[in-house]
Symmetry: C2
Subunit: 192 residues, 2 copies
Amino acid sequence: MTEIDTTHVPKPRNASATRDAILVAARKEFTKLGFENASTRRIAEDAGCNVALINRYFESKIGLFEDVMDACIDLGPVLAGTPDEVVLNLVEICLSKGEAALDFDPVLAAIRSGGTEPAKDVVQSQLGEPMVATLAAYIGGDDAHQKAGLILSIVAGFDVGRRIMGVEAMQASQNAALQPHLTAAIRAVLEG
Amino acid sequence: MTEIDTTHVPKPRNASATRDAILVAARKEFTKLGFENASTRRIAEDAGCNVALINRYFESKIGLFEDVMDACIDLGPVLAGTPDEVVLNLVEICLSKGEAALDFDPVLAAIRSGGTEPAKDVVQSQLGEPMVATLAAYIGGDDAHQKAGLILSIVAGFDVGRRIMGVEAMQASQNAALQPHLTAAIRAVLEG
DNA sequence: TGGATAAGTCAGCGAGTGCTTACATTGGTC
DNA sequence: GACCAATGTAAGCACTCGCTGACTTATCCA
């Protein structure tokens, strides 16, 4: 017997909504696996759409990566306040990393994507240099760019230690013990 | 007309030599691309042997990765000397990174490999935890493991800033400006 | 000098990749 | 109500991947 599904209601068509769904799924995938290991098929499945739509809306996989990495870091709030508060903010950024539910971390995505060619350029030009420039402008004085680079390195390094190397002594449960030493390191660079 | 190449001399067979050649090529490939993006076919080509030999000698790609990562970090020389000398050694490790000709960097290989499953375990158990344990034993006192983790993070983070994010202000040409601030950061953690 | 065995070669399987092309269906407009 | 652009689907191309099993060839020992 042949059945006809009369209950089927096609989901409404909405280009910008599916575009957004693709972006959300891509953020997760790129953070978890990096650019190269990310799969457009998996992103599409997670977004609940067809693979071809990724290419329609973002041209290519690297185009999608560019859109994901674009303007995803805003240092404004971090650099507002007294110098002591800025240090506190930077420490907080590190220590809050890896809290569950946080499935998009542009720095982590950058670390995991910066090895191979097409993504490397995006990471450098859209994430690394802008962050260093913003930080350096805030720091000012001699060696501002070097200091800014080192601060960024410490933040990124924290990600590496906690989430890539999986060091036990750096997990969130150890935040209390980590906090003073991390603060000391950042302060040493900023106030050097 | 049919020619017979009477000049052909087959290269001598030497299992341990080709095994070593594979290891050397693998070190380069894993450092440059990380575990997932590394290609066994490329490694074999670089080693001048057939792909099948990788599986014969190392069981699998992850087996090769284990052998590459095994016992590749010796902190002994770094931790010998006065505390001041130890700081100097750690700074030197960072600043010498990315010098041409250095095509094997286990930390960089770890960073680029620690994202996905089979390699992640190897990175954690064969690189992260041993290094932290050794460093912590040297540091001693309160929070030794946390301090050790942060030191490792700073070293790894430097790699990220310089070679993955490609930050301009952190290239080797800026070593002189970087040195004092990097020293300050490491000292702040060690002497905290 | 033969034969056993270690060492290396070769072709290919099954699966996964990014991307494209041709097609189906929807929703809004004249 | 008919048309049509916008949206979504399905199938497949050309490629790379790790790995394997059957094969050839060199080496060494009895």
